[in-house]
C-alpha cells in the first residue's frame, strides 16, 4: 500500500501537457489568492483583536474604489482562465486527420472495442504510440463515460447517439480506463486498461489475434442480407430508388426541407433507424426503419462499410 503512492497522474497523450500547464496556472492563482486571504484574515484577527470588552471599532463604511478594484481584478483573471480553457478545449475537441477509428460500444458493465481491421476487444484497448486514435462511441443501455486519466480525456457515451473522443498516446505502457458516469451496480468494475504499444508491436498484435473480418466487410455482408441493395447502390453514378452511397461519407447532403447536413456517423445512424427524419432532396420518404432489426454492433459495421465507399 505504501510503495505505490502517486500524487500526480501519468502524462501519456499529446494533449496532457497542455491540460497540465493550464492546471498548474489555476493551482498557482488559487494558491496565491487563498494564501493571501488566509494571511490577511489571520493578521486582522490578531492585530485587531478585542483587548477589552468595550473597545469600539474604527468606523469605516465602504469604498466604491475598492469595490471596483476587487471586482475587476478577479473578473480579468477569470477571463484569462476562460479564454485559455476554452481555446484549449476547442483545439482538443478536433481529431487530427488520418486517425485510426475505433468503435466503442458500452453496456452495463463492459466496454466493447472494435478495430477497423476486425479485431474486437473487451475492457482492453490496444493502440499504437504516436498515432491519433479517434473513438466513435455509443451505448446499448444507460449513459456511460469513457475516461482515460493518463490521456486527460473523457466523454460521455450515450444510448442511441454517437459521441466522439480522440487521443494520441505518447508513451508506451498500460493505463487505466474508467467509466466515469455512474451506470449502476457494477459501475466501479466497468473499467480496464489501454495498452499503448510500439507501432510494429501493434501490427503484430493486430495480426496475431483471432482475426475476424474487418468491420467494413462484415458491414457489406449485412448490407446485402438486410436488402439495402434493393434501393441503394455503393456506386457514385446511376439512378436508384434511394440515394447513392458511394463517396457519400463526409459530404454535404441537401434535404427535402431545404436544409443541408453533413453525412457523418450520426447522420448515417439516424437515417438507418429513423429514415424519415432527414429525407434527401429528390427522393420519396419511403425507406422503412431498421430500428429493432440491427444491434449497436450491426450499426457500427454498416457505418464502417458506408464509410469505406470513399471514392
Amino acid at each position: 500500500m505504501w510503495t505505490d503512492f502517486p500524487l500526480f497522474p501519468e502524462r501519456a497523450s499529446t494533449i496532457a501537457g497542455g491540460v497540465d500547464r493550464l492546471y498548474f496556472f489555476l493551482v498557482a492563482v488559487g494558491a496565491l489568492f487563498s494564501i493571501a486571504i488566509f494571511i490577511t484574515i489571520f493578521v486582522f484577527a490578531l492585530r485587531y483583536r478585542r483587548r477589552h470588552e468595550d473597545q469600539a471599532a474604527v468606523p469605516f463604511h465602504g469604498s466604491t474604489t475598492l469595490e471596483i478594484v476587487w471586482s475587476v481584478i478577479p473578473l480579468l483573471i477569470t477571463m484569462v482562465m476562460f479564454g485559455w480553457g476554452a481555446s484549449l478545449y476547442f483545439q482538443n475537441s478536433r481529431a487530427p486527420d488520418g486517425a485510426i477509428e475505433i468503435y466503442v460500444v458500452a453496456k452495463q458493465w463492459m466496454w466493447k472495442l472494435q478495430h477497423p481491421e476486425g479485431a474486437r476487444e473487451i475492457n482492453e484497448l490496444h493502440v499504437p504510440v504516436g498515432r491519433p486514435v479517434r473513438l466513435i462511441m455509443t451505448s446499448q443501455d444507460v449513459i456511460h463515460s469513457f475516461y482515460i486519466p493518463a490521456f486527460r480525456i473523457k466523454n460521455d457515451v450515450l444510448p442511441n447517439r454517437f459521441t466522439t473522443a480522440w487521443f494520441e498516446a505518447t508513451k508506451t505502457g498500460r493505463y487505466h480506463l474508467f467509466c466515469a458516469e455512474y451506470c449502476g451496480t457494477q459501475h466501479s468494475g466497468m473499467g480496464g486498461s489501454v495498452v499503448v504499444m510500439e507501432p510494429a508491436e501493434y501490427e503484430q498484435w493486430l495480426s496475431g489475434g483471432p482475426v475476424g473480418e474487418s468491420l467494413a466487410v462484415a458491414g457489406e455482408r449485412l448490407f446485402r442480407r438486410l436488402g439495402c441493395t434493393n434501393c441503394h447502390s455503393p456506386e457514385t453514378k446511376g439512378r436508384t430508388r434511394g440515394p447513392l452511397l458511394g463517396g457519400l461519407f463526409g459530404k454535404p447532403v441537401p434535404l427535402l426541407d431545404g436544409r443541408i447536413v453533413t453525412a457523418d456517423e450520426a447522420y448515417l445512424r439516424e437515417s438507418i433507424l429513423n429514415p424519415r427524419a432527414k429525407v434527401v432532396a429528390g427522393y420519396a420518404p419511403e425507406m422503412p426503419t431498421f430500428q429493432g432489426q440491427v444491434t449497436e454492433e450491426n450499426l457500427v459495421e454498416l457505418i464502417a462499410y458506408i464509410k469505406s465507399l470513399r471514392r
Binding site: 497522474p9 488559487g30 486571504i37 486582522f44 484577527a45 471599532a57 478545449y89 486527460r152 480525456i153
Partner: protein
C-alpha cells in the same frame, strides 16, 4: 435572572404539550420543529457517509456489496441535499429570524408556514421509507435512462419525497418574499435591512422560480418509470440528456439556495464580532441578487462532457466565471469588515473564520471546473466531490453551525458552554480538511466518484480521508450534546449577550410570542456598532 427566565411569559412557555407544538403557527416554534427534523436527517445522512468512508478504507469492495454502496452514496446525497442543506439555514434560522429582524410579529402566512413543515415531513417520511424499503441507487442526480428504466430500486418513492421537500421550500420562499415586502417595521427601508434578509430574499426568488422545474423533471421520470411514456429513454423515443438540462436548471441554482443564506449568516456574525458595519453593505446586498440571477444561467457547466455542443460549453463556461465575481466580492468585503475592527474569538466567529477559509478554497477550485479543458479531466472525479463539499459543508454547514451558536441565546434564552463551542469548531475545521483535501489530489489523479472499489494506488489518500471523516463526525456530535445540555443547564443569556445590533436583539430572550411588546421604529441603517456611527464617513 434564573427566576425571571421562568416567570416571564415567552414563546417556549406560553403553552405546553405536544399539540401546542404540532399545531403552532408561531414562526419561532416552527423553526424549532424544522431544527429538530433536519438534525435527524443530518445524522441519518451522516451515518450513510460513515459507512461509505469505512468501505473506502480498502481498495476492494469488501465491507458492503456494490449494490449497498451505491445506495449509501445515493441516500447520503438525497438526505443531505434535499432534506438537510436546502432547508438548513432558511427553514430554521430564516424562519426564526426573518420576522424578528424586520420587526414583524410573524411571517405573512403563518399557517402556510406550518403547512410547509408538514409537507416537508411528508417528503421526509417518503424518503426515509424508501431507504427502509431497500433504498435507491441512482445517485441523488437521478440521471436517465438509468433512473427511469434500468434501476431496480425505490426511485419513484424517493423522487416523490424530494418533490415534496421541494414543494415545502416553495412555500417557505413565497412566505419570505411577501413578508419582506409587506411587513417591515416603520422606517425599515430596503437599505436598512440586515444582509441576512437580503440573502434570504435572493434565496426565496430561486426557491419559487427554480424548484418547480426540478419538480417537473421528477414527475416526468416517474411518468416514464410507471407508465412507459417516452421522455428520456431513447428506446421509447426520448432524450436522456434532456433530463440533465431540466435537472441542473434547478439543481445548480439550488447550490445558491444552500449557500446564499449561509452568506447572510456570515455577514451578521462578522459584523457583530468585529463590531463594525459590514463593509460595502450595498455591494454585498447586490452580490446576493446577482448570484441568484446569474446562477440561473450556468447549469450547462455540469454537462461539458455530456455530448452538449462545444459552443454551448463555451457560453456556459463564460457565464460560470461571471458568477465567481460576486462571490469574491463578498469575501473581500467580509475581510474589510474585520479591518480595524474589535475582533473577539467567540464560537460563532471561529465558525465564520472557518467559513471564510473553506469557502475560499471551494470557490477557487470551482474555477478549475468552469475551465473547459481542465473540467474534461476532473469532471465526475473526486475533484468535484471535494469541491462541492468545500462549498456545502465547509461553507453552508460551517455558517449554519456558526448561526446556531450565535442565535442560540436568543432562541433558548441560555448560553452554550463557550469552551466546548470553540473546541468543537476547531475539531470540525481540522476534520473537514483532512477528509476533503486529499480528495482534490485523488480527483486529479483520476479516481472517478461513486466507485465502490478502486485501484490500489489510491488507497493512502482514501485512508486519510476516512480518518478525517471520523474526526469530523466527532466535531458534529459534541455540539449536539452540549447544545441539548444547555437548554436546561446553560447560564441564562440575557437579552443581548453579544451586544449585537439588529431588531431581534432588542427584544427579550427567549422572545415573547408576538416578538415585540410594541412595534419597533427604525431610524438608521443596520450594524450601528461604532459609537459615533452618525459621524462615520464613507471613504472614497
Amino acid at each position: 435572572m434564573e427566576a425571571s427566565l421562568e416567570r416571564r411569559e415567552h414563546y417556549l412557555n406560553v403553552s405546553y404539550g405536544i399539540k401546542s407544538w404540532l399545531l403552532t403557527t408561531d414562526h419561532k416554534r416552527i423553526a424549532l420543529l424544522y431544527l429538530a427534523t433536519i438534525t435527524l436527517f443530518f445524522f441519518v445522512g451522516g451515518a450513510f457517509a460513515v459507512l461509505m468512508r469505512l468501505e473506502l478504507i480498502t481498495p476492494k469492495g469488501d465491507l458492503v456489496s456494490a449494490e449497498t454502496y451505491n445506495k449509501l452514496f445515493t441516500m447520503h446525497g438525497v438526505m443531505m441535499i434535499f432534506f438537510f442543506l436546502s432547508p438548513s439555514v432558511p427553514a430554521t434560522l430564516g424562519n426564526f429570524l426573518v420576522p424578528m429582524m424586520i420587526g414583524a410579529r410573524d411571517l405573512a402566512f403563518p399557517r402556510i408556514n406550518l403547512l410547509s413543515w408538514y409537507v416537508f415531513i411528508f417528503g421526509g417520511v417518503l424518503g426515509l421509507g424508501a431507504a427502509a424499503m431497500g433504498g435507491v441507487d441512482t445517485g441523488w442526480t437521478f440521471y436517465t435512462p438509468y433512473s427511469s428504466t434500468y434501476s431496480n430500486s425505490a426511485v419513484v418513492l424517493t423522487a416523490v419525497g424530494a418533490f415534496f421537500a421541494g414543494f415545502s421550500s416553495i412555500l417557505t420562499g413565497l412566505n419570505f418574499i411577501v413578508t419582506i415586502h409587506k411587513m417591515r417595521a416603520p422606517g425599515l427601508q430596503w437599505f436598512r435591512l440586515p444582509l441576512f434578509i437580503w440573502a434570504h430574499y435572493a434565496t426565496s426568488l430561486i426557491m419559487i422560480l427554480g424548484t418547480p422545474v426540478v419538480a417537473i423533471a421528477i414527475v416526468l421520470v416517474a411518468l416514464e418509470r410507471l407508465f412507459r411514456i417516452g421522455i428520456f429513454d431513447p428506446n421509447l423515443g426520448g432524450d436522456p440528456v434532456l433530463f440533465q438540462h431540466l435537472f441542473w436548471f434547478y439543481s445548480h441554482p439550488a447550490v445558491y439556495i444552500m449557500i446564499l443564506p449561509a452568506m447572510g449568516v456570515i455577514s451578521e456574525i462578522v459584523a457583530c464580532f468585529s463590531r463594525r458595519r459590514v463593509f460595502g453593505y450595498r455591494f454585498v446586498a447586490f452580490a446576493s441578487l446577482s448570484i441568484a440571477v446569474i446562477g440561473f444561467l450556468v447549469w450547462g457547466h455540469h454537462m461539458f462532457v455530456s455530448g452538449q455542443s462545444i459552443y454551448a460549453g463555451m457560453v456556459f463556461s463564460f457565464l460560470s466565471f461571471l458568477v465567481a465575481v460576486p462571490s469574491a466580492v463578498k469575501v473581500f468585503n467580509w475581510m474589510a469588515t474585520m479591518y480595524k475592527g474589535a475582533i473577539s474569538y467567540h464560537t460563532p466567529m471561529l465558525y465564520a473564520f472557518g467559513f471564510l477559509g473553506l469557502f475560499t478554497v471551494g470557490g477557487l477550485t470551482g474555477l478549475f471546473l468552469a475551465t473547459l479543458a481542465v473540467d474534461v479531466h476532473v469532471h465526475d472525479t473526486y475533484f468535484i466531490v471535494a469541491h462541492f463539499h468545500y462549498i456545502m459543508v465547509g461553507g453552508t454547514v460551517m455558517a449554519y453551525m456558526g448561526g446556531i451558536h450565535f442565535w442560540w441565546p436568543k432562541i433558548t434564552g441560555r448560553l452554550y458552554p463557550e469552551a466546548w463551542g470553540r473546541f468543537s469548531a476547531l475539531i470540525v475545521f481540522l476534520g473537514f480538511n483532512l477528509t476533503f483535501f486529499p480528495q482534490f489530489l485523488l480527483g486529479y489523479l483520476g479516481m472517478p466518484r461513486r466507485y465502490h472499489a478502486y485501484p490500489e494506488e489510491f488507497q493512502v489518500l482514501n485512508v486519510m480521508s476516512s480518518a478525517g471523516a471520523s474526526i469530523l463526525g466527532i466535531g458534529y456530535l459534541i455540539p449536539m450534546i452540549y447544545l441539548i445540555w444547555s437548554m436546561r443547564y446553560g447560564k441564562p443569556a440575557g437579552d443581548n449577550p453579544w451586544r449585537a445590533t439588529g431588531l431581534e436583539w432588542q427584544t427579550s430572550s427567549p422572545p415573547p410570542t408576538e416578538n415585540f411588546e410594541e412595534t419597533p421604529l427604525v431610524t438608521a441603517p443596520p450594524y450601528a456598532y461604532a459609537k459615533e456611527e452618525e459621524e462615520a464617513t464613507v471613504v472614497h
